[in-house]
Amino acid sequence: MSDEKKHVVPYRVYVIVLIALVILTLLSIGITGIELGKYTVAGALIFAIVKSFLVLTWFMHLKYDKLYIKLMVGFVFAILVVTIVVTFLDYLYR
């Protein structure tokens, strides 16, 4: 198993991902500065989700991992989302 060929990611891929992450950070600071009312929270969260997706895919090598690892990670994030949705359904409709 350890003889398996490892995928070596070129340095420039990481630099490009970092530039994208920094741009998204600055955009999220910009967008929360504007008065958007209740959409501010949604906007900030969308930026955070996109950023963590980039980190998971490239920095954490999920792009080059086997399918079952991707599925496991996806499953855990799905559990988190379900927990948050169910909690809010409870608070919104009690």
Binding site: M1, S2, E4, K6, V8, V9, P10, Y11, Y14, V15, V17, L18, L21, V22, T25, S28, I29, T32, T40, V41, A44, L45, F47, A48, K51, S52, V55, L56, W58, F59, M60, H61, D65, I69, M72, V73, V76, F77, I79, L80, T83, I84, T87, F88, Y91
Partner: protein, 207 residues
């Protein structure tokens, strides 16, 4: 004679199993912080005005600087996993040193940020907090100290983890064919980065 000259070396190395083990650990961390985020969201939902007021107290600039610092440190440790595969030991070590330095700079910033809060009398259980602020603001600062504090503790653990990895890289115990520990240190550091990616907007940006 055959028995004495032939020693079997047991090689306990399985990169894929190591990776799965690290991911399983990361899942427990995600659930730990995930539940804290649920608590934050519920309290924010119940005390929107107080959370708005309290969040204005936080310094967006220092939060943004720390975000950039962590993002850059994530890139340097990710690059070190490439450097080790290319057999470039010195560059691997250099990148890890930069990662550790950035982690320390993050903690120093955090120290000064907390110090300003303490100087204003805002710390868990302080007179100023419990006497003059509303229930919602007390909840906000409680969560702020718990969540950024727990995150800072993860940074400290990450720095120790990377220091151990650096020593093993220097002694050539970690190299291109045996890079699992370095890869796992990277995964851990990126997890800490992802948690901060959510902490930053929730505490500093949403006012």
């Amino acid at each position: 004679m055959e028995n004495s000259s032939h020693t079997v070396v047991h090689d306990h190395y399985d990169a894929e199993a190591s990776k799965i083990g690290m991911w399983l650990f990361i899942f427990t961390e995600l659930l730990l912080f995930g539940m804290l985020f649920v608590i934050y969201s519920v309290y924010r939902f119940m005390n929107p005005e107080a959370f708005h007021l309290a969040a204005e107290e936080l310094d967006t600039f220092i939060g943004a600087v720390n975000t950039i610092i962590l993002l850059v440190s994530s890139m340097t440790i990710a690059m070190s996993t490439t450097a080790i595969q290319k057999g470039n030991k010195r560059f691997t070590l250099l990148l890890l040193v930069i990662t550790v330095i950035l982690g320390i700079v993050f903690l120093v910033n955090k120290y000064f940020e907390w110090k300003v809060k303490f100087d204003h009398g805002i710390f868990p259980g302080s007179e100023m907090l419990t006497q003059t602020l509303s229930q919602g603001e007390i909840l906000f600062f409680g969560l702020y100290f718990i969540m950024t504090g727990l995150h800072a503790l993860h940074i400290v653990i990450g720095i120790v983890f990377i220091a151990v990895v650096m020593q093993k890289v220097a002694k050539r115990k970690i190299h291109a064919q045996r890079s699992a520990l370095l890869d796992n240190a990277g995964l851990y550091w990126h997890l800490v980065d992802i948690i901060w990616i959510f902490l930053f907007p929730l505490f500093y940006l949403l006012t």
